[in-house]
């Protein structure tokens, strides 16, 4: 093993002089705790390039992890306690005074990482790091009331820690200090240590508490050399060399498992630690739980589809309900995108009138929660659009229960329609009686030909709850058919019979040919979003 100690040079560090003057309580506690450290074990860890905070972590000295001082000062404390100065004369010059990447935490506990632009960043302590995060949050989000911190780390960290721990346990098993304190058990993980160290500082910088929250701050650390995701035992048993400086290759194998002991005998010179030359990439992302805005919509046009409908780069219809509503609400919430959900749907050439159809807009990553007044304003705005294609009613913000509200009982609900029907002979009074006398009429509908290409061929029994004919002044063969049916009934096919595949049909009931010219939905009977 090499005799070289690679520690940042302590001699010319200005921080050292400053800390010498201000010894806080925490520092005192730390200095006391450090006295108990076994010099030989610490020396060993330093040799293997374990960073100072990880050393504190492995020995459960939590003050060392949280205290807001630079690693340089922490090193000096350790050196004083374990009398390592004598051996620190030889130190290799580090470029730009940056520390070596810790072989366990890969720079995470050193607040050292590569950002999105591949720039190397290193912060002195948790508060500086938290400040950077907080600033980033404040740039984009102005209204958070709490936050949840999520951290994702490469598995290589756990693996390297296992390697070092098993090595240390084997080597120092016989030492007094080892046996007395049952050392190296219940060690706080890098992930937990990181979260604990920055949570307080984040709360201070952001002015809100950390809790189970809709707003998430996510730190994702990744490293190219972390091949463990694809690393199954079988795959890696080839004689490939890992690029970033492996030492202790045994028979050309690389064994990366989460088990503590890999091979039978782990001797001093046989140490399968995977070291890296650069710190991890760290990506800082935020997300906000979606905001739900619901209401009822009316579709006044026969050329507007419910959802965006584009085939071969061509739009069907002149607009869609989804876009007309979504594009207006999205900017009000300053979100990233929206999803449209409605309780049922109607064809592009069918108008949705009367009470309107319940719908829900889910705004993703909404940065601004609109007030009830601005929602009312939005409702007026949409209703005032010149194109007059769509109207909204009862627009309001819903909680996350909005989703289940939509699905609840959708299938059992009744729908009411008005159809413009033509028959092949003149209407007579008997016809009115024939249709209005039928209550809860059972109709057997084979899958309509117009949807047969994408739906299962099935016979579906549906119920027509009631019907009546409204004569149209000036016409003897046209009338308005009002009807109330079970959800899922194909109305057009009930009128024209779909070549006899829907039976009975208006044609068969009246004994003539019947055609439907127009269809309008006049009521969607659901108990939600009614005010």
């Amino acid at each position: 093993m090499s005799d070289e100690y690679v520690i940042t040079p302590v001699v010319s560090d200005p921080n050292l002089a400053a800390s010498g003057d201000e010894v806080t309580d925490e520092m005192k506690l730390l200095e006391n705790a450090v006295q108990e450290l076994p010099a030989n074990a610490v020396k060993e860890l330093i040799t293997h390039e374990v960073c100072v905070r990880c050393i504190f972590r492995l020995f459960n000295i939590h003050e060392g992890i949280h205290v807001l001082v630079s690693p340089t000062i922490l090193y000096s404390i350790i050196e004083k306690a374990t009398k390592l100065e004598a051996v620190t004369t030889k130190c290799s010059q580090m470029p730009e005074g940056k520390s070596n990447i810790c072989s366990i935490c890969l720079g995470v506990m050193q607040f050292s990482y590569r950002d999105q632009r591949e720039m190397l960043v290193e912060k002195d302590h948790a508060a500086d790091f938290a400040m950077m995060i907080a600033e980033s949050v404040k740039e984009k989000y102005h209204e958070i009331t709490s936050f949840t911190l999520e951290v994702s780390l490469p598995t290589l960290i756990i693996e390297n820690e296992s390697v070092i721990l098993s090595y240390m346990k084997k080597k120092y098993a016989s030492e007094v200090w080892f046996q007395e304190k049952s050392s190296f058990e219940h060690i706080i993980s890098v992930k937990d240590a990181l979260k604990l160290s920055i949570t307080n500082s984040l709360e201070v910088s952001l002015g809100v508490k950390s809790s189970v929250s809709d707003f998430r701050i996510r730190l994702t650390y990744e490293h190219e050399d972390d091949t463990s995701a694809e690393n199954k035992m079988g795959k890696n048993q080839c004689n490939k060399r890992i690029k970033s400086g492996m030492y202790g290759l045994r028979n050309g194998f690389v064994k990366c498992t989460n088990a503590t002991v890999q091979s039978g005998d782990v001797s001093d010179s046989n140490f399968q630690l995977k070291k890296v030359g650069m710190p991890c990439h760290m990506a800082l992302t935020f997300s906000q739980a979606p905001v739900y805005i619901g209401g009822r919509y009316l579709k006044l046009s026969r050329n507007v589809s419910q959802t965006r409908w584009i085939i071969d780069d061509e739009r069907k219809g002149e607009a869609s309900v989804e876009e007309l509503i979504g594009e207006n609400i999205l900017p009000m919430c300053n979100g990233d995108g929206y999803k449209f959900h409605a309780a049922g749907r109607e064809d592009i050439d069918v108008r949705m009138l009367g009470s309107g159809r319940p719908f829900l807009i889910e705004i993703q990553n909404a940065r601004h929660l609109p007030s009830q007044e601005s929602i009312k304003e939005m409702e007026k705005k949409i209703n005032g659009l010149q194109s007059n294609l769509v109207r909204v009613k009862h627009l309001k913000i819903l909680g996350s229960q909005g989703w289940s509200l939509m699905r609840e009982g959708e299938a059992e609900k009744q729908k009411q329609y008005a159809a413009l029907v033509w028959i092949s002979r003149s209407i007579n009074e008997d016809d009115l009686e024939t249709l209005s006398s039928l209550k809860d009429l059972k109709v057997l509908q084979r899958t309509p030909i117009r949807v047969l290409h994408r739906r299962s061929p099935l016979d579906r029994e549906k119920i027509i709850h009631w019907m009546n004919i409204e004569k149209i002044a000036g016409s003897s063969q046209y009338f308005l058919l009002h009807l109330c049916t079970q959800a899922g009934t194909y109305i057009k096919e009930f009128v024209h019979g779909d070549l006899g595949r829907t039976h009975p049909s208006i044609g068969s009931l009246l004994g003539c040919r019947a055609e439907i010219l127009q269809l309008d939905v006049t009521d969607v009977k659901m108990d939600i979003l009614n005010e």
Partner: protein, 208 residues
């Protein structure tokens, strides 16, 4: 909405409490209904005397005259979604027989076409037929005639109502008397569609 208001007005208990403003006032509710009704009523002057039928609006009609045999005329209604409805065209020789069509039998070729069960969106179990594959036999008092697929594709459904009601062919061969529904692959349709003629051309051909 209007009945709700009537009830609360008649309820004496309501007098003791401040009246709850109903969701829609009587006037508003009545207006909403009137508005709705105005939207529903068509302009009578815009209504055609005889509107186009569901078939005319939703399908393109093709005719295959003399398909494999003289006067064996069949129609193909093709929907925008690619499905094709096959049936006997008005000029089919079977209609010329005395008493017209009396029976239909789907048991032709290797299987009884009325017994296939096609399931699922992917239309499993559908049999793949060629354009000259027999669909069924229509019988008159004098003779029987084979009806063919006309197009290559999967047979989705036959009109099994014809078994009990063969007279549908006599009264409405172009609608309720259809024979079958076939789903051709787009490429197969492209190959064959030019061999068919339009309804107008057919009328001229048969002097209707």
């Amino acid at each position: 909405m209007t009945t709700q208001n009537a009830d609360s007005a008649a309820d004496p208990a309501a007098d003791q409490q401040p009246p709850q403003a109903p969701a829609v006032s009587y006037d508003e509710g009545y207006d909403a209904e009137k508005e709705l009704h105005k939207l529903l009523l068509p302009n009578v002057n815009d209504l055609p005397i005889s509107p186009s039928s569901a078939v005319e609006s939703n399908f393109v009609t093709y005719l295959a005259p003399d398909f494999l045999k003289p006067e064996h005329d069949q129609y193909i209604y093709r929907h925008a979604n690619g499905l094709c409805v096959i049936g006997l065209a008005a000029g089919h020789v079977a209609f010329k027989d005395e008493g017209a069509i009396t029976a239909v039998d789907f048991n032709v070729g290797k299987s009884n076409r009325s017994e296939i069960k096609v399931t699922g969106k992917r239309k499993r179990n559908a049999q793949h037929f060629e354009s000259n594959t027999a669909l069924c036999k229509v019988c008159t008092n004098n003779a029987s005639y084979i009806v063919r697929c006309c197009i290559k594709g999967s047979l989705l459904e036959v009109n099994e109502r014809l078994l009990k009601q063969p007279e549908l062919l006599n009264s409405a061969a172009d609608r309720e008397g259809y024979i079958a529904i076939i789903m051709p692959k787009p490429a197969d349709w492209q190959k064959i569609k030019d061999s068919f003629i339009s309804f107008d051309e057919y009328k001229k051909l048969r002097h209707f």
